[in-house]
Symmetry: C2
Subunit: 337 residues, 2 copies
């Protein structure tokens, strides 16, 4: 025991002390794989079922300090977020998640309990999405990096792309908009605002409503998840479909966000616009879709706009100044090495 440690306190074991192979055993111990995983960890590769002869695949990388902060989120939340954003991409194609593989890079002095939290969060969200973690890679990296690849099964259906929106369609959303961005603003402000706990939780680990796509027999004409910001992601649908989209601001108004913006203005003199969280805040992983105008919207979906002839995305007929979508290399701050 280090002489400076309080008596009785056990210094956290690091991944270097435990070793790569013991850590892999620990990560995989007692896990029950989803039915789609025919061969799980332990060989050169995993084997996954693809019942209809195709599979959907999406991959995302999360870098510490860029996509998450260990002082703002628990390892469990970070693990959940890493799986959720990939599962949402798979569901946004109209497919049911089946399995995930995860590559994790971390420093040798990373406490084992941080890896425990990450993997628990990942398994928890993978289960929520209907899959399991079939394998991965574990490497040493000075900055923590999590790379998730997610797989999904279309169950014989056609994929729902971004290019199927037609003039006259209804634009509808399922899930919350702007909550992740608002939660991030609270964390960045350092303010302690108790009623904002749900928004901060929404930032730390989004909960995409997978069921609003997967449980419905009727399917939208175009679909995506809101990862870069509502205007940016609807812009992708408008571009890919060759149509214009107009949103109804009244349908986007969220009293919880309005109240929070007011409190941040009063308590920490922060000038924020709740509408910007809704229109440009990413990472909520809500689903947004174009539905045929004749069809009744399934439960969980709410109408926020419509598809018109033309191009671009407007709100109440007006173009918005700057979409504010996420762009990886924007910003002049130097990379920390």
């Amino acid at each position: 025991m280090e002489p400076t440690e309080p008596l009785g306190r056990v210094r956290p074991q690091t991944v270097r002390e435990l070793g790569e192979f013991a850590l892999i055993d620990r990560i995989n111990a007692g896990r029950v794989q989803a039915p789609a995983v025919l061969l799980g960890p332990g060989d050169d590769a995993a084997l996954i079922s693809a019942p209809d002869g195709r599979f959907v695949v999406s991959t995302d990388m999360l870098v510490e300090g860029r996509h998450f902060r260990l002082d703002w989120s628990s390892p469990h939340d970070i693990g959940r977020k890493a799986i959720a954003q990939n599962a949402a991409d798979v569901v946004a194609m109209g497919a049911a998640p089946t399995a995930f593989v995860v590559a994790l890079g971390c420093a040798a002095d990373t406490p084992v309990e941080v890896v425990d939290g990450l993997t628990e969060g990942m398994w928890s969200e993978a289960g929520r999405a209907g899959g399991s973690i079939a394998g991965g890679d574990l490497v040493r990296s000075p900055r923590m990096v999590i790379s998730v690849t997610a797989f999904g099964d279309l169950r014989g259906n056609a994929p729902i792309t971004r290019s199927g929106a037609r003039v006259g369609d209804v634009i509808a959303v399922a899930g919350r908009l702007g909550w992740s961005g608002a939660g991030l603003a609270v964390l960045a402000s350092g303010a302690e605002i108790a009623p904002a706990a749900d928004l901060v939780a929404a930032h730390r680990a989004p909960r995409p409503p997978y069921g609003v796509v997967l449980d419905e027999p009727t399917r939208p004409n175009a679909l995506t998840d809101v990862s870069d910001g509502l205007l940016a992601d609807l812009g992708h649908i408008a571009d890919a479909s060759g149509v214009a989209i107009d949103l109804d601001s009244a349908a986007l108004w969220d009293p919880a966000l309005e109240a929070l913006a007011e409190r941040l203005a009063v308590e920490v003199a922060l000038d924020v616009d709740a509408a910007q969280w809704v229109l440009a805040g990413g990472e909520d992983h809500a689903f947004v879709a174009a539905w045929s105008s004749g069809s009744e919207l399934p439960l969980g979906w709410r109408r926020i706009g419509r598809v018109l002839a033309g191009q671009g995305v407007t709100v109440d007929g007006l173009r918005q100044p700057g979409n504010g979508g996420w762009e990886s290399f924007r910003g002049a701050e130097p990379d920390r090495r």
Copy 2:
């Protein structure tokens, strides 16, 4: 132009200057996808064919300074290596590579030509393996990180795992052993040894002999690729199969490596053992397999040992001191942040 730049020299464009979306367009421009890629980049996820209702998947992460150095390898070589090591894992299950997805993290000041080189190398090796790059993710990271996920099709065959070796089987290898480790030793020594160019090239970008598995109608009982070192990787087969493996040192002798070890001893006083490169050097991505003793070895395979009752791996009946296999978190050097 910066005043300190020589007249007429164009400063390399960085990924920040080009921007994420223009860089993604540049990466994907003019690419021809493999037949298995039903939907490529541009939507929430890709769609890949899996004709026999299953797919093989492997993922690996490569971290700059840990798995590659931009001053030791060209971006093209690094891209090839990233794809090759994943394709080798897929082939080591007996499957034919069909597609890859790639997540790339790089600093905002990375020259665009570095990304060009990486992606060219990736596409080149993906084509060599029989697949293409169906999608990916591009994020900002202070240290370069490449995460590749590879997919393969078993064509109706059973997967070839590590657990199928039986007492009496012949152990055979296809591809070179120890060349990557020897090439690394040359790079690390700083010595300029012209005849070692092939070994250095083998370290910079391995060329796994995919065809020795994929083109053969007869299949081995157990198979893996040599990524961690021959003894370590055969140890996995011995453990998984519940058998012992004995190697014949005479069959492992490589005159090119012996000659190099002698030159390093004479010219830079480096005390190296060529046998250690063969037994413990990883990253060659040769294939090693257990074949039924009755069957004739297909072209490209050479006998190096046999499967016995018992456990562990020996050379000429002797246990080796320390397997020397790669372990990610070993080594006391601090992580550079």
